[in-house]
Symmetry: D2
Subunit: 371 residues, 4 copies
């Protein structure tokens, strides 16, 4: 029952998501960060290694160096988390998989749809465990929502509204986090649609268990001079004929990270909001409601197993992220973790981004989503 | 300073909106309901007259009888409110205007776009006051929102998201209120789009002061066997290039009357929700917020003048409705009431409905909205 | 089925509560304001009469003149609403009752406990209808809360927490509304405890159906130089042994009119807040909840009968106030209205104020509440 | 920069707070759990050791064994966290301090006031770092609230209302967590007042920077047969004359862990709620408000330094708890951490519990709080 040994690619000084991955990975003490190629700049990688408190010699200047060294060690790494900007995901994953090491990558899975297909082939060929950190699928009440839908509690799904408003890119894109996200060379095909729209997409498919089959996209670069989309409105059709609306924006001033979803069936509807994640509302067609609070006895087995505190002791983003790592650790240990977003979720997300970007011209209309 | 004398067409036994109009009209004691042709069934019209406590002889069996009698009385009516199902609006308005009497009509203004143009011509020819009860424009904080936008507080408007979720038609359309709304013969071209979508549309144009110039519509009759749309997703373009999303649905189980709007400029964003109408949030790009609560000193002159209670004493739907009547009364008295929704708002609403219905086929794409 | 004819004492220019009474009284068209002695200053009374749009000759310079004239008219008044500052309630009520006319008075019923007992004797001797406008008992969901408790839905009541925070008297008491409330000569024994504490007290007894039998009071005049209390903390015991806490304050900066109550039994608890009055939460000991929204099918008969709009169309303070008038009108018509706050509620409220004021010295401890 | 090595006393199988301490301690990777005496039952201690994934030989059967072994190791523990039921805190702390090892203990600091004084003397004599996990002082926005008060943003504090409603002990006290909390032998002098009332007390003193000097307590054992209080209402006086109300209950059905605090000065008031911890409201006497959301630029330096995610990515209870550990780690490293609750906070908490229990008879009235 030793802890799994994790390495990180990316996550150097100034990274937002690197420390988040580190905390999430270690939260349940099933995983330990032991190595990393944190930056393509060797001194910065070393600096990050000190900040993460790993052994100095395991803060590597390059991924290649790390793979070479770690595969020689008796206590070498068990998997690699890729937390670089998008453009690097495929190259890193390719190298890690080639070394026979499982990969967990941040989203979106790759920079482009072509890359995604290449990666899928590599993963399949490798036979190695693979995951994508679609964080929001880790929230206990998102799991509960999914379970309620799957159990038929909502009846036939008719309508999905998923929104992801942010405002932090409404002005100039200043700072490390902002700069690469508005640069096609580092970010990939999509801007907002790839940064957060794909989360909303994944959440909708995750909770409903339905695939989006067609979409109509209205993407825009609202801030003058921006090369990538920063505001996205997408109409959806699901495989069962249900309709959907997916909105994502990074120019909605005052919004922080206000992901929310509403799913309506012919028997009930449910509402969940990421900024108030410990409560889930289920309203039935007879006018009654169910208020499902995290950490209470109303949760089903899967959501309960992903909860660490009793009701009223709020859990949040880091704990949700840790649930993705918990699932990935289970897979590494040979257990089942069917809700871990894997290569299929990654592929579908990339297909969504690519299709939405391609479709977003006013005379395109509805297009098929194939993945 | 006598009270204005109002008559009603429609609003008979079982009507939801008739009593609302009566309360709203009389709330400020500037108007008094004195007559009505409440039902095309004479005994029912008389029954309604008793319920409204008007003089028995002024509960008329037909609109014609009412106009004939009232125009003879020295204390005859000053205006007529039309609260029938939509199909009757034009015919009633035509007769009332022909009798030289001002008209206030419920929304949507008419059943079809052709009717709307006819009514506009009649109104223009008559030179008489005319209004449409777009209720939500009557909320003090909606007025405040409009004033903030007009004063430049949000900067250039970039994005509008207006949603109007309801769930009461998710099952069989049972009961007087539901039945006519799903019947094209009584309801007109639009179902949900005309019943509530048009409110959302008017609210968006009212607050932003911008016209919608183009739209893309995705309307559906979700409940099996329904002839009119009950679920609507519409993408918008405003005259200044701003983008918008308008969602309206009557099949979202558990939603009551959850109209809400978010408007984002390049300097600030604002959020208002009809079910919690006494608070308006304004978030600035510098991260600060303004929480504007009704009845407090933060309101501008127009909103303050439309508020009857101090902060913390909630006002609601009836008071908002009464503000529309207050504006209409002002017009009848020869005063200015520039925010009263009039023939132009009515025309634009009907153009919106008609265009959305026409455009809602998957290969239509973006269409112009001309009104 | 003619409308009842109402007169008002007080409510002159600058009054907050006068117009509220007028709107509330007339909302359901069962009552019509026809006369008033709106001010002890004749020109101001006339000015108010014009503002209320009553006939000029029925805006009287004094209550005496009004009673003399109205009792002579064939269409004379049916009742008098007393909306003066507290010091005048008894004198006005005495005169009105002496003229054989029913009385509805604003709260607190009188300025002192001695006055309250005198008024109770007068009411009893007169045999006339009498009511006190404890507004908050008029909210539909307060009625629903009461019905749920009465039906045993909460089990045995163990604990009540009722709070009434305001902040408008945190600074200098400026303006007509503030000035008399901090003046013992006009306000009576209690300051905050009489202005709003008594509402909280009435609400607690109304919803629980239990009498407070003992209390411990901690009242203070926090703002320097103030003669009456502006901040009140009171511990309660109910007849069945349940414990309670009643907090009222007018120096809590930023609070508007944030009355709220939580009642806990051994089977369930309920929560209601006046600033968001259209929702009532009931949480059961098994972890399930009931969300009761106004205007929906979840309401019992009494609450439903006090609701004028469908769910999602918010009602507020004026509509709640109108429900008190509706009950009073029912009594005048000889019907039953057991939930109308009458002389007993008025007496209990005054006993509460007087006892709390008397008890509020640090060495008093627990005292009995006798009424 | 090696990680500090932590041992735990208590926290065996079934413990709620043990795993919380482990996660919190390790969250920032400054601390590592390496040893424990998790249970007085040796097999259970070993079982816990496996669950925590520590080395088998460092899961000790007794505290004595642990101290003996660890003080011999070159990589021995740096401090001990005490997470047993209250009755054991003093004995454990005494032994640990005697071994020259710093102590962090769960709250309340001891079982009785006498024990608290003994512990204070031991801590002083030892000269060793000592802390108490008053978790709620770890929330970033609680830190922000404190900073705002300290900077004079509220003016002179006049009123504090702190409430801590729970409902989980409204019925039979079943299960490991409940059983010891209602048993005086294991829980100490106070029931609810010691379990959660002391948190509320600490929070009030922490945010305001004011000491409570006197109190009046109304404690009850509401559930039949219970030996310790389960419902507490306490009136407070602060050193500057400000008034306060502290409510804590474990019989309020439906409440989870709804700690909240409102602090009012003569210039502004603030509101914070633990179940929605990432937002802080500050309302000024001029009617304006400040909405302070965690992770944004509105936070001061101390709160910002205690935040790990950007705005809109909710942090919760575990992260707050981790902030207490971060402060404790800083102290161990010889840095300043003035906001760490230490022996003084622990003493004051125990004085509060003891005084409230003693004072809670109806004829006690106001008593001094000396600590």
């Amino acid at each position: 029952m030793r802890r799994l040994r994790m390495a990180m690619v990316g996550g150097g000084p100034g990274s937002f998501i690197g420390p988040v991955h580190r905390i999430a990975a270690e939260l349940d003490r099933e995983i330990e960060l032991v190595a990393g190629a944190f930056s393509s700049d060797a001194p910065r990688s070393a600096e990050a290694g000190r900040a993460y408190r790993i052994e100095p010699e395991r803060a590597y200047p390059t991924l290649g160096a790390m793979l070479e060294a770690e595969t020689q060690r008796p206590d070498g790494i068990d998997f690699v988390s890729i937390v670089t900007p998008n453009y690097n995901h495929l190259a890193s994953a390719r190298a890690v998989l080639a070394a026979g090491i499982p990969v967990l990558t941040d989203k979106p899975m790759t920079a482009t749809w072509a890359e995604a297909r290449e990666l899928a082939a590599l993963v399949e060929a490798s036979g190695l465990p693979f995951g994508v950190t679609h964080t929001y699928a880790g929230y206990p009440l998102v799991r509960e929502a999914r379970a309620r839908v799957a159990a038929g509690g909502l009846g036939t799904i008719r309508k999905v509204v998923v929104e992801y408003p942010q405002g932090w890119l409404a002005g100039e894109a200043a700072g490390k986090q902002a700069e690469w996200r508005v640069d096609p060379a580092r970010c990939g095909e999509g801007g907002c649609i790839g940064d957060i729209g794909v989360h909303a997409f994944q959440l909708a498919e995750f909770i409903t268990g339905l695939k989006v089959t067609r979409l109509l996209a209205d993407l825009a670069a609202v801030v003058p001079g921006r090369a990538l989309d920063d505001d996205c409105s997408v109409l959806l059709r699901f495989a069962n004929g249900a309709r959907g609306v997916l909105l994502a924006s990074q120019i909605e001033v005052g919004e922080l990270n206000s992901l929310r979803i509403r799913v309506y069936g012919d028997r009930a509807g449910l509402i969940w909001r990421q900024e108030d994640p410990n409560i889930l509302f289920l309203n039935r067609i007879d006018g009654t409601s169910e208020v499902i609070r995290a950490g209470t006895g109303l949760l089903g087995a899967d959501a309960a197993a992903r909860t660490r505190t009793p009701g009223g002791h709020p859990e949040g983003y880091l704990e949700a992220f840790a649930n993705i790592y918990r699932d990935f650790a289970a897979v590494l240990r040979g257990e089942q973790a069917p809700l871990l977003p894997g290569i299929e979720a990654g592929l579908r997300g990339m297909a969504f981004i690519s299709t939405a970007v391609t479709a977003s011209s006013e005379n395109m209309g509805w297009v098929s989503l194939n993945a």
